[in-house]
């Protein structure tokens, strides 16, 4: 759309955090109705740039201009004022949602849209406008539902509605698909295209190159804070983009042929959890030397299954055996230790919340699972020297980028946090590896690293359960794939016999090939 007017202009934005330059003289512009994809490695400065645009951060140099609502002339935004950005028509969907969980969707959308000290809120009018908006955009949510009861996809729709309700003309989405299923992502991009066609200008950040190529009009790439490319999507290839981001060629590891071994882990008729997240009558057999993928739309019991295998959720019914040892009996929901000692390695889904203790040092985080083992303590007293030494070795072996083993773990980026988790869980040569969404939010390089580690574990003869919503990842790594839907797990079938659309259908609840056609 070469003739469309420019609605947003970032001019020579520079942002420094101390001596570190997160954005280095970045200039970008956006036209009405255009969809721009912003790419870059973890820490490249994408989120920072968008936060400056929205007024959360203040740039050290440079300006942000937005087209005036009436005249259309580019007008400079006062820095550091989110409400000014909102008023000028900039809407932002943050990487971590900014919703009040205890309030309804309607409340979240109306929040701050009326003068604070008015005696009554015009909810009825607001609701009517929203119903109309939902119809036009196809973004439907139950306006009266509490946010805490909504799925991730629904929450995201609320976030977008928040922006549209305020007549946003520029919409920024920070890694919107990181937490969405393929179907949800597809729907999202369809919606975005509709909105763009109506004139909305959109910037989205993503690490998934396929969707970037499929859905954007233009692509901008940041590397180390600098804009290294700003090009039309047409003609861009995945390989070229990956190279632009990383600055060198990226090789993706693939799964070598390997014969599966004996049965390691079996679940029979296993039920656990309650409510929507419960799992029912799950049968599963994991062999050594294989990766078993579990596909499914988030919220269908994966979390409970992961918690069960992590020893955090008691088994309500059925059995759980590892190499003929009955583990189900010993599980009371507080026995992560039992599972670790039995030889389970667990990579939790939310690495910030469940993977590390941010305030403790990297060395302590590396030792946390084995802190009671003789190598870490004697008579209850910690062996600091040994702990530090092993940490230094792990930092080297896993290439954890940090200032040393004494640095607080929270200072690391997501990718490096994941490396801590990998290092400490895989170090003990586990029999079973449970990996839940192991590459969510990670950039190409970090993702490749995680995949390599999982394949290494497989090569050593471990059984890996890979829970993921990313079908590409599942198809590339798994020997067999089973689909989980509404807490029930389908049979695991060899990956070679499956294709994306079959899996997608099963994830949506259409039954397995065996009893074809029946809708759930």
């Amino acid at each position: 759309m070469p003739s469309a007017p420019t609605v947003l202009q970032l001019d020579q934005i520079t942002k420094r955090f101390g001596s570190f330059t997160a954005n280095d003289a970045v200039s970008l512009s956006l036209k009405k109705g255009e969809i721009l994809a912003l790419l870059g490695e973890n820490g490249a400065g994408k989120t920072t740039l968008m936060n400056i645009l929205f007024g959360h951060y203040v740039a050290d140099e440079g300006t942000v201009s937005v087209a005036d609502r009436s005249s259309g002339a580019l007008t400079e935004l006062p820095p550091g004022q989110p409400h000014a950005a909102l008023e000028a028509g900039v809407g932002m969907v943050h990487q971590h949602f900014t919703l009040a969980e205890n309030l309804s969707a309607l409340d979240n959308i109306l929040l701050g849209t009326e003068p604070l000290f008015s005696a009554r809120s015009a909810r009825a009018k607001g609701r009517a406008r929203l119903v109309d908006l939902m119809q036009r955009s196809g973004l439907t949510v139950d306006l009266d539902a509490r946010i805490s009861t909504l799925s991730v996809g629904e929450k995201q729709r609320v976030e977008i509605l928040k922006a549209l309700y305020r007549d946003a003309r520029v919409l920024v989405l920070d890694e919107p698909t990181a937490v969405l299923t393929p179907q949800e992502s597809d729907t999202l991009f369809e919606t975005l295209k509709t909105l763009a066609a109506e004139g909305l200008a959109i910037i989205f950040i993503s690490h998934k190159l396929d969707e970037v190529i499929a859905s954007s009009d233009r692509i901008a790439v940041l590397r180390l804070g600098k804009l290294v490319a700003d090009q039309p999507t047409a003609g861009s290839t995945k390989l070229q983009l990956a190279e632009l981001m990383v600055g060198q060629t990226v090789t993706l590891s693939s799964r070598p042929e390997q014969a599966a071994g004996r049965v390691l882990l079996t679940l029979q008729g296993a039920s656990a959890g309650d409510g929507r997240a419960a799992i029912h009558d799950i049968d599963l057999a994991l062999n050594s030397g294989e990766i078993l993928g579990i596909a499914g739309v988030s919220g269908n019991g994966q979390a409970t299954l992961a918690r069960l295998l992590s020893g955090l959720e008691p088994l309500r019914k059925g059995s759980l055996t590892l190499e003929e040892r009955d583990l189900g009996r010993t599980l009371h929901g507080q026995s992560a230790r039992t599972m670790i000692e039995a030889g389970f390695a667990r990579i939790p889904e939310d690495r910030h919340k469940d993977g590390i203790v941010g305030a403790m040092s990297i060395a302590e985080n590396l030792a946390i699972e084995t802190i009671r083992a003789p190598q870490n303590q004697r008579f209850g007293f910690l062996k600091f020297g040994a702990i530090a030494e092993r940490a230094r070795a792990a930092i080297k072996a896993y290439d954890i980028r940090c200032q040393g083993e004494r640095a607080a773990a929270r200072l690391l980026s997501g990718g490096n946090i994941q490396k801590i988790v990998l290092a400490r869980t895989l170090e003990a040569n586990p029999k079973v590896v449970l990996a839940a969404q192991p590459s969510r939010g990670l950039d190409v390089g970090a993702t490749a690293d995680v995949h390599r580690r999982l394949l290494d574990a497989r090569a050593r003869g471990a059984g890996v359960i890979l829970i993921s919503e990313d079908l590409d990842e599942l198809m590339r790594l798994s020997d067999r794939i089973a689909v989980i839907h509404r807490g029930r797990l389908g049979p695991a079938e060899a990956t070679e016999t499956l294709d994306r659309s079959t899996l997608g259908l099963r994830m949506a609840g259409h039954d397995h090939a065996a009893d074809a056609g029946e809708a759930a």
Partner: protein, 313 residues
């Protein structure tokens, strides 16, 4: 026994409402603070400051409503200290609260004693008188039970209704509830997290101080040391008991008042064989029991106790 007699006596209900009044102010004040995400353990001291300042103003000739205003201002002042320490500065809400209690209490006592060094009996003021509402006050039973209270009691009831209205029906209330749940939701909608939190803490503290003022200007007519006697802490418990809802807060305060009134009446009968302390313990034990029952369901303000720093993730 004369259990029934007690409940059938209108004066018992009047006493319950009277005892509950300072608690109503306190619990609503605490609730407003906590809804915005700030625990205010300064309440005990703010009660004392309100009691002292309101009384002192009247004693100096300010008039009763002038005294109420001064009490509210004193509460707002100490609330502002707590708000500044905990909201933009992000200090521990526990410690700041206890610090404010220490500060407000000792300052009140010090000012009182320095202003009145040589009193042998506490100076008295002319306190609020029970309102005589023509028609209503004369109703049998209902009249003496409900309508022979002072203006401050009615103000307390009005405050409950007004707070409920503001919280649930106005944009301001929505912002307060949201900021206590997730401050970044408020910030991303262009509102000021600090502004709303500070405002809520200041307003809530002013309400707390009215609870103190009730003690010296309505329940009694003089200021005493140690007069607040733990009433502030009870309000903190009642807030949780009420699951942060104004209606339930009123109910909780009334329950507490009724229990106290009941135990005072029962003690003259059975006080000789059941230690009085057993009755005094009951409200606390019941509060704990109630907590156990509501704990799982309570939708507490999720951001309570969590300071918010702009730009932090």
């Amino acid at each position: 026994m004369d259990f029934l007699d007690i409940f059938l006596n209108a004066n018992f209900w009047a006493a319950s409402l009277r005892i509950a009044t300072p608690l109503i102010f306190g619990v609503i004040g605490a609730l407003v603070c906590e809804r915005a995400g700030v625990l205010n353990l300064g309440i005990e001291g703010i009660f004392t400051a309100g009691a002292m300042a309101g009384w002192m103003a009247v004693w100096l000739g300010a008039g009763l409503w002038g005294g109420v205003a001064v009490a509210a201002l004193a509460g707002a002042f100490f609330g502002l200290i707590h708000a500044i320490l905990t909201v933009p500065l992000g200090l521990s809400q526990h410690v700041s609260g206890i610090g404010v209690t220490l500060f407000a209490t000792s300052l009140s006592y010090f000012v009182y004693r320095t202003a009145l060094p040589d009193v042998s009996s506490p100076p008295r003021i002319e306190p609020f008188k029970p309102l005589d509402i023509p028609g209503l006050s004369d109703l049998p039973f209902i009249g003496p039970a409900l309508f022979q209270q002072t203006a401050l009691t009615f103000l307390a009831l009005f405050v409950v209704a007004a707070t409920a209205f503001v919280l649930y029906r106005t944009p301001l209330g929505l912002a307060i509830r949201a900021v206590g749940d997730n401050p970044s939701a408020v910030e991303s909608q262009g509102l000021s997290v600090y502004g709303i939190r500070i405002g809520a803490v200041v307003a809530g503290s002013a309400l707390m101080a009215l609870g103190g003022a009730f003690l010296t200007m309505s329940a009694f007519d003089a200021f005493f040391f140690g007069m607040v006697n733990g009433r502030g802490w009870i309000c903190i418990a009642l807030t949780v008991f009420a699951s942060w809802r104004p209606g339930k807060a009123l109910l909780g305060a009334l329950l507490f008042g009724a229990f106290d009134a009941f135990q005072v009446r029962l003690q003259t009968d059975v006080g000789s064989f059941i230690p009085g302390q057993v009755f005094l313990m009951m409200p606390y034990i019941l509060s704990i029991a109630a907590l156990i029952l509501v704990a799982r369901k309570a939708d507490y303000p999720r951001a309570l106790l969590v300071p918010y720093f702009r730009g932090q993730r």
